[in-house]
């Protein structure tokens, strides 16, 4: 298992007092993504636990693009990964954000 941590500075609005959002299932080639509001002084922190080792650079690239797409702050994103491809990772992240943003409105 490999544990990776990424932090991004964002300006998105801080939301509090809401339940965690979880999408996806941990299985071979798949992952679960959990979103939680946490006071991180404006940061968005992403923790990845993955069974596929040695792909830090690819995670960095995928998450850079993700962070740039949504501009998030005070959000803790936790990922349990069973070796998903970047395509699946992007899809789950977008689904999680969609569910998260839907619950805000």
């Amino acid at each position: 298992m490999e544990h990776l941590e990424f932090e991004f500075k964002g300006s998105g609005n801080r939301q509090v007092d809401r339940q965690a959002t979880l999408v996806g299932v941990v299985s071979s080639g798949n992952l679960e993504v959990m979103l939680e509001n946490v006071d991180l002084h404006g940061l968005c922190r992403i923790n990845v636990s993955t069974s596929a080792q040695g792909f830090t650079e690819i995670w960095q690239a995928v998450l850079n693009d993700f962070a740039a797409r949504y501009d998030l702050a005070d959000l803790q994103i936790s990922i349990n990964d069973g070796g998903a491809t970047p395509a699946v990772v992007c899809l789950r992240l977008d689904q999680a954000m969609e569910e998260y943003l839907e619950a805000l409105t």
Partner: protein, 549 residues
């Protein structure tokens, strides 16, 4: 001037038949005499065609051939579409044969590589089907062909049933060049439903102890189609089929193309495309095409071979398929691939690796897999002279300013997720095919589809239209622009890619108006084999390995 003899081949044939008469009388041979007969008929160094495609197999005759005495029969030169059975490999391990010209060796790819490494096999060349068939009539006519049919009558007429496949081609090349044709059949009957091969082209027939093998190679379980594949299929339908009015086409086999087939009655229908796209097909009867046929998308399907379990469904849809007077399907791989090459406007398929030039290959380092039919279908037909809207539009796009002669272009589409499972990148700097070439001493890298034949590359990131690229650099950047987070994709220049996007060379789902959120399995017309059975009105009878009820 010495008189030249003009009948040596016929005399040789007579000599072989005389030797055969030592072990059997007449045309119908008991199966237990078959190995002895083959031994009598063959001579060392013969070119032998062993019928077998990735569907039906002359498996009994293959076993008989593998049992001959290698002291008497050796150094055979095998010519065959597919190397698929353990007995095929045994021929080389036992020294019965030492050379092969073939098309495909999917399931035996690893053992083939081992035979090459052990110097037990010499590969003449790896071909596409139509190319190998062509050589049967030019420089590789078989001396003896071991073929397979469904049934025979006492005269030796053959009925091939829905899976005619390669049989007529092989028999034609052998019987009309003084060769000898030996057939295995499942049963010998009084009356055949129809005659697919006339008796006077066939020398010997045997009733095999077990029915011949038949692989359901073209069955894809919709349960395994992923959301990513659905997203890509939506892009193909909206961004290619609709835009080019693609009506005459061929699909490769795989989950990517199965997804397209299953989106026709749902997504394509919602775009108002019924009757406007996907009407005439060159395709095995894919079970995943059933919903599109039932929904009225498909007008006709001509097939290289049938598909196990689809027989009754095909029989009940004679307006769509090519069926004989007996009602069952007639297939023909040679005609199908000629049709696929010249009469189809589009081919779409997947492969395992693509390089920056767009060359693609299914070769990996330890497996010699071959090509099958894809290179013939996935190639621009330079000899084509008839026009169609899709062909003309592609031709216009491909034309750079200098040429003024109008000419069309085939659409050759490669569809693949940027990473395969276990994080294997689909886009690579250098194809494994090059290393395979170096290791085995081939003259060419085994490339499935050449980059200059490819018109579009589709990945989860979007579509790259290579027709519109004007320089090699542009093509490279267009491929990088859809290569995702692979090393090739990460090497892209964002500004160049954005420029290509402005020019419509790269199109993202949002550029195409494809809503990613719709890309769920609910969009599939059938999510399981059971739903395919329901669509077929109970006519489709899936092989037991595809059932989960």
């Amino acid at each position: 001037m010495a008189t030249r003899k003009w009948h040596t081949q016929a005399e040789n044939r007579r000599a072989r038949l005389l030797r055969a008469a030592e072990v059997c009388e007449g045309k119908i041979v008991p199966c237990e005499r078959m190995t002895a007969l083959i031994e009598k008929v063959l001579e060392p160094g013969d070119r032998v065609c062993l019928e077998g495609n990735n569907q039906k197999q002359a498996d009994f005759l293959a076993r008989c051939l593998a049992q001959v005495d290698p002291q008497r029969v050796y150094d055979l030169h095998m010519v065959q579409s597919v190397i698929a059975l353990p007995s095929h490999i045994e021929l080389f391990e036992r020294g019965i044969a030492n050379k092969v010209d073939f098309s495909y060796s999917g399931p035996m790819g690893t053992r083939m590589a081992q035979l090459v490494a052990d110097d037990k096999i010499k590969i003449g060349a790896i071909h596409t089907y139509l190319e190998l068939f062509g050589r049967y009539f030019i420089d590789l006519p078989p001396k003896v062909s071991l073929i397979v049919a469904h049934s025979a009558d006492s005269q030796g007429n053959l009925y091939t049933g829905p899976n005619t496949e390669d049989t007529p081609t092989i028999v034609e090349a052998t019987a009309f060049k003084s060769g000898i044709v030996i057939a295995q059949v499942n049963q010998i009957v009084e009356d055949l439903p129809r005659v697919d091969i006339p008796a006077d082209w066939v020398d010997f027939v045997t009733e095999a102890p077990t029915p011949h093998l038949l692989e359901p190679l073209f069955t894809r379980d919709p349960a395994q189609i992923s959301e990513i594949q659905i997203l890509m299929a939506m892009m193909v339908i909206k961004g290619i089929y609709a835009e080019y009015d693609v009506n005459r086409l061929n699909h490769g086999v795989g989950f990517n193309t199965a997804a397209i087939e299953l989106l026709l009655p749902t997504y394509a229908d919602s775009l108002g495309l019924k009757g406007k796209i996907c009407r005439n097909w060159m395709l095995n009867p894919h079970p995943t095409l059933i919903p599109a046929i039932e929904a009225g998308f498909v007008e006709s399907v001509y097939s290289p071979g049938s598909e196990l379990g689809m027989e009754d469904y095909v029989r009940a849809r004679p307006d769509v398929f090519f069926n004989g007077s007996d009602g069952s399907q007639r297939t023909n791989r040679a005609f199908s691939h000629a049709a696929g090459h010249y009469a189809c406007d589009l081919f779409i398929g997947s492969s395992l690796q693509m390089d920056l030039q767009g060359n693609s290959s299914t070769v990996t380092l330890d497996r010699i897999t071959g090509f099958g039919g894809a290179p013939n279908l996935g190639a621009d037909a330079r000899g084509r002279r008839h026009a169609s809207p899709a062909w003309l539009k592609a031709g216009r796009e491909a034309q750079s300013g200098l040429t003024t002669t109008p000419r069309g272009r085939k659409l050759v589409v490669q569809i693949m997720e940027t990473y395969r499972e276990h994080m294997q990148p689909a886009f690579v700097e250098r194809l494994d095919a090059w290393e395979m070439m170096e290791k085995t001493g081939m003259e060419l890298p085994p490339i499935m589809v050449y980059g200059d034949d490819i018109s579009h590359v589709v990945t989860e990131e979007g579509i790259a239209n290579l027709l519109l690229c004007r320089t090699d650099e542009e093509r490279n950047e267009a491929i990088r622009g859809v290569a995702g987070y692979t090393p090739l994709g990460l090497g892209r220049s964002h500004s160049v890619v954005e420029n290509l996007r402005d020019r419509g060379i790269i199109r993202r789902p949002e550029d195409l108006g494809v809503d990613r959120r719709m890309a769920t399995r609910d969009l599939l017309a059938a999510r399981s084999v059971k739903e395919l059975v329901h669509w077929s009105g109970g006519l489709y009878q899936p092989p037991k390995r595809f059932r989960n009820w």
